[in-house]
Amino acid sequence: MLTLTGVRKTFNPGTVNEKVALAGIDLHLERGDFVTVIGGNGAGKSTMLNSIAGVFPIDSGTILLGGNDISRLPEHARARYLGRVFQDPMRGTAADMQIDENLAFAARRGKSRTLRWGISKAEREEYTEELAKLGLGLETRLSDKVGLLSGGQRQALTLLMATLQRPDLLLLDEHTAALDPKTAAKVLELTEQIVGEENLTTLMVTHNMHDAIRLGNRLIMMSDGKIIYDVRGEEKSRLHRADLMAKFEEAAGEELANDRMLLG
């Protein structure tokens, strides 16, 4: 489904702020894979997801999605393949537009937009049904402005918007990190539900190891712009927090050792 080969990205090359964010990523996802991504701050998780989404061009390597080379497509052109939910609940929705308008706008992702009316009556009925499934009471508030919703409600709405039209790949970048624990649990539950029902290929970044182990069929750990650990299936479900912590420390230790070597 998704194949990254030798993807590299350096920010601010040639300056004192030069930062190798992706140091050669090779990753292959099968259709229906639900992969959790963990790693310390600055490990390159967001950069990897943003490279796939086309937020910035990559320096080298290729990104294949469903057999198409999307490495050189601009962000808006890749959107037809991708569903995305950001960490910041404000980034996924348009505050001054109504709930139904946001959904209708998202439902046309990747389709050519015309002078047809932006939302149809049939659509509104469909959205009422879909919103009811979220169990947040939004189904009665279709014409409310999204700006009136809470962060959790907005995040749940963004998730629905991202999947309304089935994406080939769903990208979730710490999409529950800005929510309180209870709301985060609810949004995560919805994520599981939607991804499961639609059997969506998914990359989900999280800082919660428990979630990373519990959810999905595969887990990758990143450090220093590389994938340093990749487990799936049985092996993954047998993982414990302690195993991951040990891996983290191992990676951190290597970094320290490298630094020492440089200094030495």
Binding site: A53, P74, E75, H76, A77, A79, R80, L82, R84, F86, M90, R91, G92, T93, A94, A95, D96, M97, E101, A104, F105, A106, R108, R109, G110, K111, R113, T114, L115, R116, W117, G118, M161
Partner: protein, 305 residues
């Protein structure tokens, strides 16, 4: 006196069409587009030259005003979207360039249309209405038609994309829309309205002048702000999109009424620009100061507790 107020309403309606254009960029796209001063004059000058020197039908003159406005907006749009020039600067560049272009189009600084028929005098002759009333009638019809057209347009798939662009560019890109296209389109539609308004004003005041658009953006912003303040006193509080468009036109009429009153009181017409600037500055700064005050109060309360 009454005549002066009739004249003010007539002016207000015609300028209100420009205000609709400014509303699109300022409120929907969150851009202060300074092209407006130039594209307003461009619409007026083009229309005047076509009518006076080429004997073109005044209605076609309006259409031409609209088209050249669209082009001017396109230039600003390309500078902004293709070359990443900040919107304000892109607008200024087009505006400055248009000054010279407008002089070239007219070949002189102004053109009178005294002897030529125009849409308002045509209606006056046909119906016996005075020039002012004829202007108000035609202006209101055109404004109403445009409000309806804009209401429709911003409800379509493309129009929704424009509104969303002003809201959240990240989201719009993530949902597959090229924001360069939406911004370009919005600037073209906006300046099309401004050019049309310029052409209407030129026909109603019976002359076109290279400086006729100077300060138009401030008039537009002031009118929007006045319309919003008035609208907030209404029960609906301008929740619907159509009511906000209507408020923009009404704000324009009120602006010109205030202007007429100020002039009646003996103020120098040139001071009106200062007054407009103060209105806009106040309208933009009051909410900021207010929220800062609230924040301060919240802190000091918390400190005591």
């Amino acid at each position: 006196m009454l005549l002066a107020f009739q004249g003010a309403v007539a002016q207000g309606v015609l300028w209100g069409i420009m205000v609709l254009g400014v509303y699109i960029t300022f409120r929907l796209l969150d851009i202060a587009d300074l092209t407006v001063d130039g594209s307003f004059a461009l619409g007026g000058c083009t229309c005047a030259v076509l009518i006076v020197e080429h004997g073109v039908n005044p209605w076609l003159g309006l259409l031409a005003g609209l088209c050249v406005g669209v082009l001017a907006g396109g230039v600003t749009g390309l500078l902004h979207t293709v070359f990443d020039i900040p919107a304000i600067l892109a607008g200024i560049l087009t505006q400055i360039g248009l000054w010279s272009i407008n002089l070239r189009i007219m070949g002189k600084a102004n053109i009178p249309l005294l002897k030529n028929p125009n849409i308002f005098s045509d209606l006056g002759k046909a119906s016996g209405l005075t020039q002012n009333i004829a202007t108000i009638v035609i202006g209101s019809l055109v404004a109403a038609a445009l409000v309806a057209l804009l209401y429709w347009f911003f409800g379509t798939e493309i129009g929704s994309a424009l509104r969303a662009t002003g809201n959240n560019e990240d989201m719009v890109r993530a949902l597959g829309v090229d924001i360069r296209m939406t911004k370009l389109l919005a600037l073209m539609v906006s300046n099309g309205l401004v050019g049309l308004s310029g052409a209407l004003v030129c026909q109603s005041q019976k002359y076109a002048d290279v400086g006729m658009g100077t300060g138009a953006i401030i008039v537009g912003l002031a009118a929007i702000v006045i319309g919003e303040v008035l609208g907030r006193t209404l029960p609906g509080k301008l929740r619907s999109f159509s009511s906000r468009l209507i408020a923009a036109v009404v704000g324009s009429i009120v602006y010109f009424l205030i202007r007429a009153i100020v002039l009646q009181l003996g103020l120098d017409p040139n001071d009106m620009k200062l007054l407009s600037a103060i209105i806009v500055a106040l309208a933009l700064s009051v909410p900021v100061v207010w929220s800062r005050y609230q924040l301060k109060r919240a802190y000091s309360k918390g400190g005591v507790a």
